[in-house]
Amino acid sequence: MKIGVKLIGPLMYEAGFSEKEIEVPDATTTDALLDRIMISKTRPKIVTRNGKAVAPDDVLKDGDKIAVSPIYSGG
């Protein structure tokens, strides 16, 4: 299945891209997706789908648009 991934802020420099579509196996979890794009697991982050937070073990669906952001604190 295909997942749209958008990386926000400095995460894009860590992973080497800011936005792209990624092919993953069915039943891929959020955590597995992050492994795939090589973002450090220890780095504090928030993952959202359609503006709502998703948990590390949430299973993704074909066509999901996922945004991964550092934990911002509003300047």
Binding site: G9, S69, S73
Partner: protein, 612 residues
Amino acid sequence: MYGWTGSFLRVNLTTKTWKKEAFSEEFAHKWVGGRGFASKILFDEVRPGTDPLGPENKLIVALGPIAGIPAPNTGKCVVAAKSPLTGFYGDGNLGTRVSEHLRKAGYDAMIVEGKADRPTIVYIEDDKVEFLPAGELWGQGTYATNDWISSKYGAGAGFLNIGQGGENLNRYAVIRSLEGRAGGRPGMGAVMGSKLLKAIVVRGTHPIPQVDPAAMKALGTGDLKKVHKIDQETGWSKQSTTGVLQFCNEVAGLPVRNFRKTQHPESWRVDGERLNEARIATYGCPNCTMRCGITIHDTEGRESELDYENIGLLGTNLEIFDLPQVGCLNYLCDEYGLDTMSAGCVLGFYADAIDHGAVGGDFKFGDAERAKQLLRMAAHREGIVGNLLADGSLRMARAFGNNSEAYAMQVKGLEVAAYNCKFIPGQALAYGVSPIGAHHREAWIITFEIKHTTRESYGPEKAAKVIELQRIRGGMFEFLVACRFPWIELGWSLDNYPKYFNTITGLNWTLDDMWRTADRIYGMIKLNYLREFPGTTRQADFPPAVWFDPSNADTQGPIAGKVLELDKYDGMLQHYYDQRGYDARGIPTKATLSSLGLDAEAAEAQKYATLT
């Protein structure tokens, strides 16, 4: 007494006199510095009803025990006065070498009184104070003024100055220093202008009293290197604060079209990635190793330093998605010495009011060229429109009528920052209960709301989070006087700050001592407010009505069909009051004030208003 110089500098512009005044150790321990000093001095010395733009108002420049000492991000000072925008206590902080030089000159704060008989520069060098004519600098923008000061006094001097906005009493004029540094959103620049004070320049040569200077030097310089390393490892300063723009767009929290919309497909054109690509230089405050000031060339080829709030309010909020154009609007605000946030809200409100037929006019969203003209008019109070714009969005709404106050994006007269709370209840509360009017500095809980609780909640956990952050952001960082960025952006531990404080003062404070001091200062600011508005109600702590209006709901996206709910917001506000020990008006009770050591201040406030 270590950690404090033990003295204030009192300068009277009317009489051209000055004196050094000692304060007690007890006073130092109770109010600590920065916002603590400023809120107490203004309560004691500026009577309620005082004209904020009259000679009886006082401008406070206040520092704290760690200000100016080499350690993570101590190059800041607090500026405060009764606000011409909100009508009560107002303040702000900005990066400046004043933090180091005023302390080295022997003062923890400066109190400016009266009004000069002609445009004046106050020059301070240790025990010497001079009142110099500002001459042709009056009428000049802040960049030319900065250059003049640097050429005359050296680039290493500490200085604060105003542009045409402050001179012409624009109510959201700020005080400026160094490159893009600005502070004092609620019109502190206009207070300087009302006193015909163009600039303050200070040079200090004495050591700052510390119990163990060698230990502090080793600790502070070592930690500056550690903070720099974390920044390099995380890459935070590649986009600095502007990384949050795309986060806000994703979660429907971006200000677009006077906050009518929460997302925009063109927002990527002005985001952190584009800003980093356009970067020509980077600036920071003194004692900073994670510099956040990214400059680009604006449409005229000038260097303009942008951060998220500038782009959010002068860019997306006005539907201007051209980075050099946003840079130009930002440059003009900096040059005139206007608060970029209020300026963006004022222009957004003006376009919206025209759009909704509340007032006639020719300004439309997306019109960058007209926006530039309007900023000039607001800074110089040119004509009817310039005068309206210079008074801020609340006064504009009252002049326009036609229910336009509902979408004037402000609380207590201070315009909101660049976070759209159409359906972010906890952040709306943070704006509502910010003690100086809507400001993101006091608390920012959007990530908490989305990641650690539910966005739909109006529960006590959100009130608790707002209070926790107020104690840190609006409290500790504003009375120790240091930038909060190492903590909020890089995760630099809060435990470091009592460590710095104790190493400098020889005391043994914990974070709990910091929170208690923060609560006392918030109580002090609330009493400043109450004395000016004795008939206040809890309605003063509500955000703009448009965020509660179902007809303003998004039609698509993550929060389609949703807006804030009035009854639920009121319930969350009550949670905040209950946890704070405030009454149903949002004012600390007598018992709360007593527990904070504010009995004398409560007795004074009761001469003007009722306490429960």
